[in-house]
């Protein structure tokens, strides 16, 4: 059932896939692997999960929706807009803490020696340099933002940091904050840091148990033009090949499907 070895199974129909911005690259890598020949022109549409949700709700002609969270696919399912039982987690987002090297220089030697996460914990209202800024994705609208907020809450430093937080519209924009050099610290997706080839010394992956899991779910949509082709691609995502691409990109692999059962 490996698509690569069994080309006859590969349905010859192009797909229109809506994907949350943060997973766009990985999806394209997956598609490239899935389609060995470049004949087919699949369409990849990326926007924030919220926007894609609104569009689907209003009849957007998508086949598959890769959301960055589980709420929206769930909601679509409730609305009866999805192929029943198609909803499943395709990747689990990993949160990483990035610290601006310039910011580090402002701190004392002791602090500089600490790992990013410990450093975060060590910072208090007293020793915080002036105009420290922590960038998160939108804590209400973006799953990574929400996860980041739960992390700070779990570490019981939300009260301290809340006034210093700047929120980007989505997690992709958090990286733009990082890139622009205007923020001191940032909680964003590991996938982006990897993609951007940020030196590993600048960030640290946050252990998954410290924040609410970022289950990224997909659904095949009711309106899909070619359910079979969509299903075939979704099935491909369960292959080890696909798994390796996903995890290489900086995501954890899903350990459970929509019903919560372990896959492996």
């Amino acid at each position: 059932q490996d698509a690569e070895t069994n080309p006859t199974l590969k349905p010859a129909t192009e797909l229109t896939i809506a994907v949350a911005s943060n997973f766009r690259h990985t999806l394209i890598a997956l598609l490239k692997d899935y389609r060995q020949s470049p004949v087919l022109k699949d369409k990849v549409i990326s926007a924030s999960s919220g926007q894609l949700f609104s569009q689907i709700q209003n009849g957007a002609p998508f086949d598959i929706f890769f959301s960055a969270d589980r709420q929206r696919p769930d909601r679509l399912e409730q609305l009866g807009l999805t192929d029943p039982h198609s909803r499943r987690t395709y990747a689990v987002g990993q949160l990483a803490l990035w610290i601006n090297p310039n910011f580090k220089h402002q701190l004392n030697k002791e602090q500089q020696a600490l790992s990013n996460l410990s450093l975060l914990k060590s910072l208090t209202a007293e020793n915080l340099p002036k105009s420290t800024v922590l960038a998160l994705a939108n804590v209400k609208a973006a799953p990574y933002g929400y996860a980041a907020k739960t992390l700070l809450e779990n570490l019981q430093i939300w009260q301290l940091w809340q006034p210093l937080v700047v929120q980007a519209g989505n997690v992709a924009q958090v990286y733009q904050y990082v890139e622009s050099g205007n923020v001191s610290l940032a909680l964003l997706s590991l996938a982006q840091l990897k993609l951007a080839q940020v030196p590993e010394s600048e960030y640290e992956t946050v252990p998954a148990e410290l924040y609410t899991a970022i289950d990224q779910q997909l659904v095949i949509l009711q309106a899909a033009k070619n359910q079979i082709a969509a299903q075939a691609f979704v099935d491909y995502l369960k292959t080890p090949k696909a798994h390796s691409i996903i995890s290489r990109s900086g995501y954890n692999l899903p350990y459970s499907d929509s019903s919560g059962k372990a896959l492996h």
């Binding site: 766009r24 209003n58 957007a60 890139e179 951007a196």
Partner: protein
């Protein structure tokens, strides 16, 4: 998929650029076509009720574009009269289509066209028109032969603002267009996507092409305008 580049840009980006230009051109054309009579009517009408219309035209500006797009999306749905009649008339849904994009741009850019035109119209000396009317020139001919040339600066402003704004418009287009490559994925969305997915080179290249292109166009138009401003046609 986005690998091969032809002259700096990938095929999809060239496509997006072409779509942007098409969208901006069609929208600007329609904006001028609709905005001109509207502005002229608003300018001439002394009735109070037109104030309401003037205010309504400017309203779409105050909402964030994505939200505006969201509301438009609701209005385009096949169960609304707009979406329904469009579907019936054309057989195509309005949402996620090029036509939908055009309609959205029209609504959103209308104030940029109507208001400069009204400003320009208000600068025209009434006597030119009165004089022409006694020469037997009909109102329509007066409009084309006097009002339009005398307010050409206003038309230029309206067209540039309308065109540029449609080129750069992103929130509404993203929402109601659904960024379908080759159909509704315009260059502003392409740039946005590139930046979001850290493809900075592509983003910068596309931005640069857009800027250089627009700059040359503006330079040409303004240059022409300056040249003819102090000059008889």
């Amino acid at each position: 998929m986005e690998d091969t580049t032809y002259f700096l840009l990938s095929l999809q980006n060239w496509q997006a650029l072409w779509l942007s230009i098409k969208l901006a051109s069609v929208s600007t054309f329609l904006l001028i076509l609709l905005g001109t009579p509207l502005a002229w009517w608003l300018h001439n009408s002394k009735h109070k009720s037109t104030t309401v219309i003037e205010a309504i035209i400017a309203l779409p500006l105050v909402l964030p574009p994505t939200v505006m797009g969201f509301y438009l999306l609701l209005a385009f749905a096949p169960d609304t009269w707009l979406g329904f009649s469009w579907l019936n008339l054309t057989g195509e849904p309005l949402a996620f289509s090029f036509s939908g994009l055009v309609l959205g741009s029209l609504i959103y850019s209308l104030p940029f066209v109507v208001q400069p035109l009204q400003t320009a119209f208000s600068g025209i000396d009434q006597h030119y028109l009165e004089s022409a009317s006694t020469l037997g020139i009909s109102p329509r001919a007066r409009f084309f032969s006097i009002v339009m040339p005398l307010s050409r600066y206003g038309f230029l402003t309206a067209a540039t603002l309308g065109f540029a704004h449609t080129l750069g418009e992103f929130g509404i287009v993203l929402m109601i267009g659904g960024s379908i490559p080759g159909e509704t994925l315009v260059s502003s969305i392409a740039i946005f996507q590139h930046v979001e997915t850290l493809e900075y080179t592509e983003a910068h290249t596309l931005s640069a092409i857009l800027i250089v292109g627009s700059f040359s166009m503006l330079l040409f138009i303004y240059g022409l305008n300056k040249k003819y401003r102090y000059r008889t046609l």
